[in-house]
Amino acid sequence: MNCRLIDAYLDQTDTQLSPEAARHVQECERCRRLVDALDRLSTTADIPVALRTRIEQGLLASLRPVRPLPPARAFLVTALAVFACFAVLGIVIMGVSGARDANWRQLGVALGILGAGAALLASSLTRQITPGSAYRIHPARLLASIAILLLASLVLLSPWTARPWRLWSGWTCGVAGLGVVFPAAALLCLLVRRGALLSPALTGATAGLLAGLPAVVALQFGCGFGQAAHVAVWHAGTAFASAAAGFLFGHFFGRR
């Protein structure tokens, strides 16, 4: 038994110390003082009655029955449906000339990453709108990981030297991509605003990236110019611009 194992006991709320742990606490002054101090830490403040009354009156004045949020699964399915619908709509509008030039391995890997990214972002968004949700990965870390993975996979799957390339020549892809992003983002915004946004900028960035992914899917299918730099700037860049816009929107308007 050592001090580290005592820490593990202290982490548990309803667990009594085992005889061995209790013996260690008796013998180790460091642990004895700590356990003693933490036992006496269970203090609560006395709230002035006037303050409590003021709070209660404030709440009761506007107390109406509210309809709780639908189950998390319903929100997740709806967010994924927005992704899938706009990806299909984008493909229908932009065509499949890019898919004809690419091989199935490239398309399969890209679609797999985009689909998995959308699922993870939708799940993260579902949790972000409900305070006190459980996370396996922090939303900011997840967002950065998906963005990096998306960029890396699209760049690695596309050739670098297919044809000469100029930066501004791909602006049509950017415009077409934004045509998919705007309605998808508007729908996601309507979904998200029912929740409680504790970190509106982060939630905005997550929703923005999720709205940008169907545009990337549609561009991967519809754009016949599969050069890596073009794909990085004008395909993945559309999703990143959407995430950045979501971040700014959340930052400036999320608290209202």
């Binding site: 107390l63 709108i129 939303p139 409680a196």
Partner: protein, 185 residues
């Protein structure tokens, strides 16, 4: 024979039921919820550099946000992580505001003098004890040891993972051992 339910678990279930009543527009449930949660929230919102009036304002702000967001509490989920996740953001916003103010003003009405109901025992400046810790560790130890939340619930309240909470708690315990005056052998 039915299995005995721990008292803490019963208290949590009672809080969950009050929250459901609050969502349903029950005035009595709302009043009881304010009565039971406010002392914990008040202690959580309290921190170094804040005045008594400042923390009272934060508590009111916290209840306002809880009221606005009450529809986001999902039945069957634990209430405390939900409430403390909101309180945590109120606290951060409050510190940002107060740090802007205290750069220009000297706060005279510090919370060190605020009455704290403590169980019988030798006097130890317990509120200040946690204040010796960095913010993340203070928050985790408060939620674990004062609010009586489990590791998973603390992770939910702090938008973190159980592993990260354990790590912060361990560092906090080590720091407290040092603060309590016994160095590592």
């Amino acid at each position: 024979m039915p299995e005995a339910v721990p008292a803490a678990e019963l208290q949590r279930r009672a809080l969950d039921e009050l929250m459901e009543g609050y969502q349903g527009g029950d005035q009595t449930a709302a009043g009881q919820l304010v009565e039971r949660l406010s002392p914990l929230l008040f202690r959580f919102l309290w921190g170094p550099g804040l005045t008594r009036g400042g923390v009272e304002d934060l508590l009111q702000d916290c209840w306002l946000r809880i009221h606005k967001a009450r529809h986001t509490f999902r039945r069957g989920e634990p209430l405390l992580p939900w409430a403390f996740a909101i309180a945590r953001h109120v606290r951060v916003d409050g510190y940002r505001r107060s740090s802007r103010i205290t750069t220009h003003e000297l706060a005279t009405d510090r919370l060190a003098d605020y009455p704290v109901a403590s169980p019988a025992g030798p006097e130890l400046d317990l509120p200040r004890l946690l204040d010796t810790l960095p913010e993340g560790q203070r928050e985790v130890l408060f939620l674990l040891k004062v609010s009586g939340m489990s590791l998973e619930e603390v992770a939910r309240a702090t938008s973190s993972t159980v592993g990260a909470v354990k790590q912060k708690a361990h560092r906090g315990y080590e720091k407290l051992r040092e603060t309590l005056g016994v160095s590592r052998p």
